[in-house]
């Protein structure tokens, strides 16, 4: 796993990174037709400690880069843009009681939602491996982000 300025970037995940779209998310193929999606450690550090998580409804279809949940910290309120178009099949109930799990474990217990993609080709738009590390490193350096 790459670590840049204290920010973990697991190389086995897929990433959607685009500062213009406020997209700093990851996706993981669960192998059952669904993907788990979440915020990167970089996004969690930018937002600050989360105090609220308001997901969209299970069953709703969201377009790529459209909001799958709204998150809130003391200084930032905004959407989590879905890296893929698809139906929300599960939301993270644990985050409702403890939104800061996103800060503490962004790639694990702090996952945002699970979706069933309806456009498999979009997976090819996501970054992986070294390309993802480089894209996130650029963001980290340009915005002066430190994790932890």
């Amino acid at each position: 796993m790459a670590v840049v300025n204290g920010c973990n970037i697991p190389e086995d995940l897929l990433y959607d990174v685009d500062p213009e779209a406020n997209a700093f998310t990851w996706a993981k193929d669960n192998g059952d037709g669904t993907f788990t999606i979440g915020l990167t450690s970089v996004a969690a550090a930018m937002a600050g400690r989360l105090v609220a998580y308001t997901p969209k409804k299970v069953g709703k279809t969201v377009d790529r880069r459209k909001s799958v949940a709204t998150i809130e910290s003391g200084k930032w309120v905004g959407p989590v843009p879905s890296p893929l178009t698809g139906e929300i099949v599960e939301i993270n109930e644990a985050l409702k009681g403890n939104p800061a799990l996103v800060n503490d474990d962004p790639y694990g217990a702090g996952w945002i939602a699970k979706i069933k993609p309806s456009n498999p080709d979009e997976v090819n738009l996501l970054l992986k491996g070294q390309a993802a590390v480089e894209a996130l490193t650029k963001v980290i350096n340009e915005k002066g982000i430190k994790c932890g």
Partner: protein, 331 residues
Amino acid sequence: MSFPEGVSLDHTLLEELKEGFEIRKKFFGDTIYFHSPGFKHYEVDDFKVSSGPKFVDISITGRHCELMCDHCASKILWHMIPATTPEELIRVGEELKKKGIQGVLISGGSNKDGVVELMPFLKAMRYLKEELGMILTCHVGLVDKELAEGLKEAQVDAVLLDIIGDDRTIAEVYKMPHKSVKDYEASLRNLKDCGHNIVPHVIIGLHYGKILGEYRAIDLISDFEPSALVLVVVMPYYGKAKFQLLPPPKAEDSARVILHARKKLPTTHVVIGCARPAGEERFKLDVYALHAGVNGITFPAEGVFSYAKEMGLKPIVSQNCCSTVFMPQWS
């Protein structure tokens, strides 16, 4: 009308709130302000300000507060831009002006007597007003005559202060057993005697999440002809550890306080400030507040901007601090 799945409103309460809505229609028509000041990025599905910030907060004590009240523990200062000397305040003001900032709120932590020690900063504040042409608001603690006069000389546009309506809250939450509601009343009087625009704030649920002195505080405020009243709701996650475990007041209980304010101050702008619990509770509170006839809401919960339009209200989006609602707004 549309609102998030799973959110249910108390329809008996909605009936009660109609009285407030009628008051707002009679005295203010259909205009409703939605504020999005620049200290926070705020973006939900139906409400977002795309242009850069125009109004920001400055703390003259940085993150430091001697009082460290249970409900806040100085965290409200953390997002503010620090300027801990008069020279730094001038420099920060000049830098902000270059970045297009048009207004500032100046505040800071309190000393153990509940006073934000602004006296050394008054000349610098006047510079921000006179030389830089900024809108200047000041969120203070308790105010004696000298400070009230000084703020007037500094040409502050509006003075904001939290009013507490129960001595137990002042003693227990604010750790000031030597102060009382009378001291807050005296502060209002000192400010009005100097001709200030005052914008009192009432923190709903301040007494460990319970409603205690809120109604008395509003009654007290109504005697001093405020330029606006700001209502906020305590956010437990801001407070000390023991506060974090407490639930905030129910949106329904807060709504009744809002209705009381609307009735007591029928011709004064009553607005919902930026501090209030997040998530579903915020949506409920904001919807109740619309029905209770408030004049404005800061950082409206997702869906509330649309809901207001469905109610027939005409939204004006402002990047100003909500305490300036009685002044011309920048959108």
